[in-house]
């Protein structure tokens, strides 16, 4: 078992265990902090896949932005004074059945499919320059549109929340 495999199993276990904690814990604040661990684990998996830039973006945007937003949401929509920020489940049994069936289907498809994997993998390289060139050449339109979308989303969120 080499170092790569050890790191993969470490990050996979961190990701899945903390995602399980997100789903199963009763306290929303614990869920939010476990979600942070999940994001870190997923960032580690990106690094193992040779996507360093995506890993950094994941850390900055998810941990620094989205998670803070979610925690703000928790703080603003619960009465902090009762000091117990708990939440329950609804329709657990049907949900479990549906998710189990879905998981079975998904796993069956993953295992049965005839994936065409390249015989020799290229070594993971940091392709920051290549990603930048792709973003302003091939994907320039999508890039600009996403910028506009972010602006619209920001204005929309502010105007919805202010109402």
């Amino acid at each position: 078992m080499d170092m790569y495999a050890v790191m993969f199993y470490f990050f996979a276990v961190v990701t899945i265990a903390s995602a399980f904690a997100v789903v199963s814990t009763k306290n929303i604040i614990y869920s939010a902090f476990n979600l942070m661990l999940t994001f870190f684990g997923v960032a580690g998996i990106y690094v193992l896949l040779g996507a360093d830039f995506i890993a950094i973006v994941q850390l900055i945007v998810y941990v620094g932005g989205i998670l803070i937003l979610l925690i703000f949401g928790v703080m603003l929509t619960n009465k902090i004074t009762d000091s117990e920020i708990k939440t329950g489940w609804t329709q657990v049994l049907p949900a479990m059945l549906v998710v189990a069936a879905f998981a079975g289907t998904l796993l069956g498809m993953v295992l049965k499919s005839n994936w065409r994997v390249l015989p020799q993998l290229q070594q993971p390289v940091t392709g920051l320059a290549d990603i930048g060139v792709l973003l302003v050449n091939e994907y320039a339109l999508i890039f600009e549109l996403l910028g506009a979308l972010l602006l619209i989303a920001l204005i929309g969120a502010a105007s919805i929340a202010r109402k």
Binding site: M1, D2, A5, F8, A12, T15, I16, A19, F20, V22, V23, I28, L35, V42, I45, Y46, L49, A51, F53, I54, V57, Q58, V61, Y62, G65, I66, L69, L70, F72, G73, L76, T77, T87, G88, W89, T90, Q91, V92, A95, V99, F102, A103, L106, L107, V110, W115, V117, L118, L121, L134, L135, Y139, I142, L146, L149, L150, A153, A157, I160, A161
Partner: protein, 103 residues
């Protein structure tokens, strides 16, 4: 290095997807539903990056993952604004109690 195959990554991402799906379907609090959506988007992102590495698509998959992250940021900002409005109107954010469209 090559004993970790594509299937390992696909297994991690399917598990993450199923946990997120369960979170969306079975939790009461609207913010927990949002966290489930984030889990699902993360699992899709792992798939994008894994396929782009193992299938030889260069950096295209990574750029798709980047776009997904941007969309997730926009989505969570809008969704939290909506949740705040729901809280103002109904005084809770439990998705099973919010069942009328107007006050």
């Amino acid at each position: 290095m090559h004993q970790i195959t594509l299937l390992h990554f696909l297994f991690v991402s399917s598990t993450l997807f199923c946990l997120g799906l369960f979170c969306v379907v079975a939790r009461k609090n609207a913010i927990m539903v949002l966290m489930g959506i984030e889990l699902i988007l993360n699992s899709a992102n792992i798939n994008f990056v894994a396929f782009s590495r193992f299938g030889g698509f260069g950096y295209n998959g990574q750029i798709a993952a980047l776009f997904v992250i941007i969309l997730a940021a926009a989505e969570s900002a809008i969704a939290l604004a909506i949740v705040l409005n729901i809280y103002k109107m109904f005084n809770n954010v439990n998705v099973d109690e919010i069942d009328n469209m107007r006050e």
